[in-house]
Amino acid sequence: MATENNTIAAFSDIYKIYEMGTHQVKALNGVSVSFHQGDFWAIMGPSGSGKSTMMNILGCLDRPTAGKYLLKHEDVSQMEDDPLSDVRLKYLGFIFQSFNLIAQLTVQRNIELPLYYLGWDGDKSAERAIELAEKVGLSKHLDHRPTQLSGGQMQRVAVARALANNPQIILADEPTGNLDSVTGKQIMEMLRILNEEGKTIIMVTHEPHIAAYARKRMHMQDGLITKIEES
């Protein structure tokens, strides 16, 4: 069991309420949960259960209406846009269902993107991108454009990009949603290895066999956590 000391992200009584005309939609209805260093989480639930909102707030893309979110012991729940961008840049890596690579950039440039915003110089960034491309098995495709790659290859580029800034937490939003089962499995293996290397991974999925890769599974319903399973 993890101690309080290695808590990396903690929600305490988080609400996210959307005003929809006259009535309110409570996407998150008072959620409290702690994520620890080295965890591998799967967040599950039907659509509208609040799992996407959970990911957005975890990923510092959105701010909660109420409640406290501590990331690396820093309260990020009501941060301004610029410092929040810095938090994303320093601590977080994103993997999306639809890969979200930038079409006009080469594989190498896509991987270098976080480094560009970190202000790394060109040579150092290139070195890092090449190293990461090797890690995900794409060193031969550095000069390719995303459109020249298969879905699995694109997601591997996305993984490499998510790793470029050496983040503490990797947030994966249905990472295998657009992949066939074989390549999906490859990506999940990759995430498992990253987790073994010490990365904290939080993943949203609705497929039980994908969720099975995680060691902790969170079930959500109507903006609340209904069940947490550990394996």
């Binding site: 893309l61 610029d82 810095d86 915003y117």
Partner: protein, 422 residues
Amino acid sequence: MQEPKIIRNIRIGIENLLLHKMRSFLTMLGVVFGVGSVVAMLAVGEGASLEALEQIRKLGSTNIIISSQKPVEDDAAGTQRVRMSIYGLKYLDYARINESFSDIEKIAPVKLLRQESRLGTRQLELRVVGTTPEWFELVPREIVAGRVLAARDNSAYAPVAVLTEHGARRLLATRHSIGQTVRIGSDNFEVIGIIKSEAGQAQGMQVPDQHIDAYIPLNTAREYFGDTFTQISDGSFTREMVELHQIIAQVNDTDNVRATAEGIERMLELFHPRGDYSLSVPLALLEQAEATKRTFNIVLGSIAGISLLVGGIGIMNIMLASVTERTREIGVRRAIGAKRKQIIVQFLIETVVLSTFGGFIGIIVGISIPQVITYIFEMPTVITSLSIILPLIISVGIGIVFGIYPAANAAKVDPIIALRHE
């Protein structure tokens, strides 16, 4: 080699623009023509006013020029077969003006005559200018050989003449002509100097000189040729008696030109009730010409401004479309950790690169058009450094002004919505 961040940003901007070469090129066209028309109009406007201003400036901005003018009633009386018309400035006017105005530094009387002249075997009709040495200070001319008139020539009634270069050439005179004798009318004059012609000096090119002048001392002119001229035309005589054709006065300061001119005007009104003179102040003409030029520039500037505005709107339009098209890219960049400011800079650089490059091409177009105008219409055009630097600054400015709105739009993109954007 580490490249500076701004260079890197510009390179990335150019790379993005090169992905859509045709679109970028078409977007640029508005600025190309806008800047092109600014450069071309400035060149034409500058050229048109230059000639006029140059002419006036040559008269001297501190000068006041008083000329004899034949009164209107004398023309009507000219129907009589023989009639002497007496008009114009008097020697006395010259003396009075010279003595009365302390602000006048230099003053030169001018007496004009036409005389047949002869040097060796060559014969030519000359314009003979009787004047004082001050004339050469008021209307500076380069001395080709010899010297100009001196005060002693005038006081001694010396039969000496200074020829203009072309006059000298037409009479087959060279620098060896100094000291030779030229026959003007029925008298012999010693050639003491040769000066550059006015026209030859104006544009630095050799054009046939209309006025072939011989400058002789005023006293000599009075003594030898008198004040009466007879002209024979259509079998009738016109006889005129004019003492001085012109008085040129130089005032010590441009601020005093107007007051002195008014003083001279009042004095002349007193002695010349017929109004047989005219007074011209190059400074006033210069100010008027400059005002005209300003108006001209404002009109041209407005037209050019409108075309630049259209060009800018064109760029803004495309950039707005580009922002919408790249919403997802913006979302990804924001999610990764790009700040709003960095997104603004990215799009702003693309717009500025577009408009500046368009500006460069526009300047090339704008420089070529005046060449064509000069060639076809034989109109002078002048490209000044301002007419290149100004449009370049404007094109950068257009990129910034019309890029701000699309870039701000890009920065406003909510990454959550953008990432879901299809």
